[in-house]
Amino acid sequence: MKIDIGPITRIEGHLNVQTTVENGVVTDARCEGEMFRGFEIFLRGRDPLDSQQITQRICGVCPYAHAIASSMAQENAYRLSVPPNGRILHNLIQGANHLYDYLLHFYQLCALDYVDITSVLEYSGKDPELSRVRDWVRAEIDSGQRYPATPFLPRLSGRYLNDRDTNLGAIKNYLEAMSMEKKANQAAAIFGGKFPHATSIFPGGCTQEARVDLIVPYQSLISEVRDFIHNKYIPDVLAVAGAFPEYWEIGRSRGGFLSHGHLPLGPRPDNERLLAAGVMFDGRVEAVNFDQIRQHVNSSLYSSPTNLQVRDAAITPQPDKSGAYSWIMAPRYAGKMVEVGPAARIMVDYAQGHNQAVKELTDRLTGRAGVRVSQLNSVMGRHLSRAILAAVLADFLLEESQRLTPGEPTMAAIDPPASAEGFGATEASRGALLHYIRIENYKIAKYECVVPTTWNASPRDDQGQPGAMESALIGTRVNNPEEQIESKRIVRSFDPCLACAVH
């Protein structure tokens, strides 16, 4: 029986998944990306310095990752030498964006799959926020409207948390997380100018200055967010994991893992990074070679040639292409499917014994949950991975901000050449992000983005291999085949961003 479970909400953008369900088990899944704008087409012929601005508009959830990838691609193309302050500001802006994104994902995008919002009706304590929520939900339910208490109701059938205190604590933290997300974004905006869509990020650094009256407010905001991560976010993830232990097994993707590495520890993009790059198959990690990435389009709505390298990328839309079911392409590494994202970032770094803070926290928290590190490849594993990364990152950002030298330059002088090419690779919160730019006669001749959700939500490739998310869905037991809260928990654990995936 074929059942569409879209439109899938609490993700970014337009995604349907067509599932086949037999005897209560998902036997097939097809991820259908349903929105296309054509960035790589309309970037052609533009001034190269437009690109870190235009590509941010691929995604308003993680725009800074695109600004950084684009800046790195141009730095690579222009052979720019970035002053230390410039790279540090890039890291501070992008890192703060990750903190907000992890909190947004767990609380606003996923918590309602586990937390029982109606438990607030039983609240009898004195907390003003919870009392307000209770009164609001009650008034809504009493109002006789057809759809009361939207957007929190209606909801799908399924098992929700039944511990009253855990539910109430999570609802309170849902609200507090929203204010923490703002603080993380305010910190980023101090140097970025605004969030979303920073105007201060350029190849070569950042136009904002490294001033004490900016650094200290940044640190103050990040410190507050850091405390929330340790005192609320990590305990909440562990509480949900404790109540839904089956999700350490559910939602396992069946391929390798790819990370481009996150946050260079020196001015050059090829300096060591806070999180190490690598591609991992069967537990073995190799260095990433961009030439091994090829994008398949047999199942995608394009008439352009398939199996092209990033440098040779082409994109010609063909909305009526038969046999194709998604606007998303299918990138593959050395012909193989990989998952990207928080679990991949941790597993790739951990396997190389690279970042000691990552190793220590991963060991401690997987130990507390009673699972193996390899089980980060699961619904709960992806949630825990984000929490681990948030904690490591918050500490790093506070240290990194102290490395700024007030008064020293934050920008390199930019002089784009007539022709050049460059790659820029970083980690968006959702995973490995690669930009490629080729400049001819001072204009963009080719621009190509290989984006996290393009990897994760990819359709079948030319060999018929499913994408990471498709593979994680196949084999899932579902109680209500029409609704499939289980499948949606799997999809959301990847934090898909369709605007990124297709662009």
Partner: protein
């Protein structure tokens, strides 16, 4: 998060606070009407996304006073938004269709993103083109708000050479001879205040005064006119390279042709805004934002390109 009685008290307090203020000022009859507000008439927002990046929705979450959560539970009700709604799939479509068919009460249609006029299948919701919902909603909605520059004017997805023929909501209705007014709130992204205060004005005092289709309170002046670096401009103290202080005009700042109140409103809780970060305004609230290849954001390579090419 408040019950109705609280809402009435707050609405009254708000009205008092707004009294006489420019743009938010309440006419006496509107103020009197406030006492009669039926909270069930709090506007219900049905948010749908077209060719968008979700940046405007994310920006709306950055609101400070009131917070986004207060806005969607107290000052308005968010009946559907793909990023926040608990529901999904067929259950979500039942809700969306009930509103669009006029069976679930009054609602305001809030659109983020552009419409792919030449390639309808470039934006699909439940197997149907985005346009399908906009056409049906035109019959039943109380009003429409275009949130962000894409929904207003197409901008980024409508950039020169785009393959989808992206257009904004007002043009979409114009092309179909559908006579529905759209309140345009541009910006890439929108400032949360621009949207939420417009919604508040709609409920407390009716439609705000518009200028070129956008709320006058936020879009009546060029950025340049109230830029704190206007003095630098007058003194010809121009930034010569990126990262310099001073007036950014010679680097390409589009403040002189962009209507928005960023210099006084500032962004993200007032912590900064573009020019404050020495970043030239790229005109993201302008209808022509990012449209032309021949008009790059920055003037660094402009002369060089024309000289050598």
């Amino acid at each position: 998060m408040f019950n109705r009685r609280d809402f009435l008290k707050l609405a009254a307090a708000l009205a008092a606070a707004f009294g006489g203020g420019q743009g938010g000022g309440l006419a006496p009859q509107a103020r009197a009407a406030l006492n009669k507000i039926d909270p069930r008439r709090v506007p219900k927002l049905l948010c749908l996304q077209g060719l968008s990046c979700t940046g405007c929705s994310i920006s709306l979450l950055q609101a400070e006073t009131p917070s986004a959560m207060s806005m969607i539970t107290q000052y308005s009700q968010l009946v559907f938004h793909t990023d926040l709604s608990s529901t999904s799939g067929a259950q979500a479509m039942e809700l969306i269709n009930a509103f669009i068919d006029g069976e679930a009460g009054d609602y305001v249609l809030a659109i983020e993103g552009a419409i792919p006029e030449d390639m309808p299948s470039a934006c699909i919701i439940d197997h149907k083109p985005f346009a399908h919902y906009l056409e049906r909603a035109a019959v039943t909605m109380s009003g429409a708000v275009a949130i962000g520059s894409c929904a207003c004017d197409g901008v980024i997805p409508a950039a020169e050479g785009n393959p989808t023929g992206a257009i904004g909501l007002a043009e979409f209705y114009r092309k179909r001879n559908i006579n529905r007014q759209v309140i345009n709130i541009p910006g890439c992204p929108v400032h949360p205040d621009w949207v939420w205060h417009t919604i508040n004005h709609l409920v407390l005092a009716g439609s705000p005064k518009l200028i070129n289709g956008s709320p006058e309170a936020f879009f009546d002046r060029r950025l340049h006119e109230h830029c704190p670096r206007y003095y630098d401009f007058q003194e010809e103290n121009f930034a010569k390279k990126l990262g310099d202080r001073g007036c950014l005009f010679k680097l390409g700042c589009l403040g002189p042709i962009t209507f928005a109140d960023c210099p006084t409103r500032r962004w993200n809780g007032g912590h900064s805004w573009c020019v404050n970060a020495n970043a030239p305004c790229i005109g993201c609230a302008s209808p022509r934002f990012a449209r032309q290849k021949s008009l790059p954001f920055y003037r660094l390579s402009e002369g060089k390109t024309s000289r050598r090419s």
